[in-house]
């Protein structure tokens, strides 16, 4: 355990994140990068950007509360130190995505009401269930909920969003790239640390599988709602023409699907397939058998 945790120490974190991929960034992106004019000018695209960003803020607030609470539940000091870095990563994510809401024109005085208006109820349920485990100082359930389910499933969504934005909105794409790099570290820690703990505590397997079944339902329901609320490629094309821009079919691909041309149903299907495929692999690595999500 000690050797694996060496790769998650604060010195490594300092060199790879603040002194690595976050150098020359400001609130997660290049100093001169701005949101595209079209997103700021068109009410449909702006609302969609706000709605998406609100889910990121809600998820990251949950992750901040969970990772800080887990510091005191961790069974060893090396895990406590890793969780301190994760706590700061999550706080940074809260900060950069909140800042994006301001960049999208949300006033500081309206922040909480905008978040309440757009927060997905499934994501809020997920956060409540996770924080209940953290309050109980249940380290295994807390890390599975936070680092494997929340971050493991969100990881694919972030990757897809990054692929779709890196050309169309480099500012947001840049912010997502830094977040993905952080998440990769968190998911790795979760898989490595929890795998060992499940082997030490096989009696926990049953309740962790039940937790996975309930929590992953809320995550998938959140993703599904996000796609159903989003504009189709035709609507985006129409908006662009209304603003005097000629839509150009994006060739950006993710998992073999052209992101700028796929409809919301196709995107939801490919995302669900990818998430579930990778999620099952992650669960196998920690010794948990995947349970088909059901409404709790």
């Amino acid at each position: 355990m000690t050797d694996f945790l060496k790769g998650y120490d604060i010195q490594y974190w300092l060199e790879s994140a603040p002194q690595g991929y976050l150098m020359e960034t400001e609130y997660g992106h290049g100093e001169k990068e701005r949101e595209p004019e079209l997103v700021l000018e068109d009410p449909t695209l702006r609302e969609q950007a706000i709605r998406t960003t609100v889910q990121l803020v809600v998820g990251e607030r949950c992750a901040l509360a969970a990772s800080s609470g887990l510091i005191n539940a961790a069974p060893d000091e090396a895990s406590k130190r890793f969780l301190a870095t994760q706590t700061l990563d999550e706080a940074r994510h809260v900060e950069v995505f909140t800042h994006r809401l301001y960049d999208l024109g949300v006033k500081k005085s309206e922040l909480e009401s905008v978040i309440s208006q757009f927060a997905n109820p499934h994501l809020v349920h997920f956060a409540e269930a996770l924080l209940e485990k953290v309050d109980q100082k249940d380290f295994i359930a807390g890390v599975v909920g936070q680092n494997v389910i929340l971050e493991g499933m969100a990881f694919n969504v972030f990757e897809m969003m990054h692929a779709g934005n890196k050309e169309a909105n480099p500012k947001f794409g840049h912010t997502l790239a830094g977040t993905i790099a952080d998440e990769r570290r968190h998911v790795g820690f979760g898989e490595n640390r929890i795998g060992g703990l499940i082997r030490e505590h096989p009696e926990r397997k049953g309740d962790i599988e039940k937790l996975q079944r309930e929590m992953s339902y809320h995550m998938l329901a959140t993703f599904g709602d996000s796609f159903r609320n989003g504009p189709s490629p035709e609507q985006v094309g129409q908006i662009m023409r209304e603003h005097g821009q000629e839509p150009q079919a994006s060739e950006q691909e993710w998992q073999g699907v052209k992101l700028g041309q796929a409809n919301p149903e196709e995107l939801e299907a490919v995302l669900s397939d990818t998430i579930l495929k990778e999620f099952k692999i992650r669960l196998e690595r920690i010794g948990i058998e995947y349970q088909t999500p059901t409404a709790p």
Partner: protein
């Protein structure tokens, strides 16, 4: 980077302080100034001139107890995030949590450099009973959710205690230990500044808080002074050093307005 490397939070108005120094961006700029060329808290090419024999053993005891204090600070800062009254404060405390985690890490690394093979076991063996009692009480205050009392215990009492001890130790330490301690002291200044500003603003709005904090201080002062006594006795320090340390701690707390 929006945060200047050398910046005195005490010079800011409460509003400017909150807007500027609570952010990850400020922390990022601040630590880059003094951690950029360091690995585990000291320059990579710094020559080690660690003490030998009994002096080395005393240094190990001191570092083990610093690890107890930093573990208390790490768990305290992590718990305070839940209690914090607003998001910017939660974000500041997340930077403090990683600072405290870093302190623990660099101190453990220094123990290994001094030849301690199992720092965890050594820390448990050499931990000072008064410091452990302080840690328990601090975490009770954090768990109780009393923001004013818990923040006072963590960011004023504990940080002032560490500040006084590290400052005195750094003045006479070997070069690597001195660099490690000086980096920690720079972080502690930021934490103390935050506690002073946050509590100062609250006391201004509700002067009754001062009486509550005086009670907390009375209880914890006894543990702090016992900790100094035990730590310095184990280091073989003269009585005058204990008096100096106690005076330095009291002056720090009183300078912050918590007489």
């Amino acid at each position: 980077m929006s945060g200047p490397a050398e910046h005195d939070p005490h010079a800011l108005t409460p509003e400017a302080f909150r807007a500027e120094v609570h952010s990850f961006e400020f922390w990022f700029g601040a630590v880059q100034g003094y951690l950029a060329d360091r690995a585990y808290g000291h320059r990579v090419d710094a020559k080690d001139a660690a003490p030998e024999g009994a002096d080395r053993d005393r240094l190990v005891t001191a570092l083990c107890n610093y690890c107890v204090g930093e573990t208390a600070a790490l768990e305290g800062a992590g718990g305070l995030i839940e209690v914090a009254p607003n998001r910017p404060t939660k974000i500041f405390l997340s930077t403090q949590a990683v600072d405290e985690g870093r302190h623990l890490e660099v101190l453990i690394h220094r123990l290994r450099e001094l030849g301690v093979e199992d720092p965890e076991a050594e820390i448990a063996r050499r931990a000072n009973p008064s410091l452990l009692a302080f840690k328990r009480r601090l975490l009770e205050l954090v768990k109780g959710g009393d923001w004013n009392a818990a923040l006072f215990a963590q960011n004023v009492i504990l940080e002032a205690m560490e500040f006084a001890v590290f400052h005195q130790h750094a003045a006479e330490a070997d070069p690597i230990t001195r660099e490690v301690l000086e980096g920690i002291i720079k972080d502690e200044r930021r934490h103390i500044g935050f506690g002073e500003n946050e509590l100062g603003r609250r006391i201004k709005a509700d002067p009754g808080i001062r009486g509550h904090l005086a009670l907390v201080r009375r209880e914890l002062d006894a543990l702090v002074l016992e900790t100094f006594e035990e730590a310095l006795a184990s280091l073989g320090a003269p009585a005058s050093a204990r008096e100096d340390l106690g005076r330095s701690y009291r002056q720090t707390v009183e300078r912050l307005g918590f007489a």
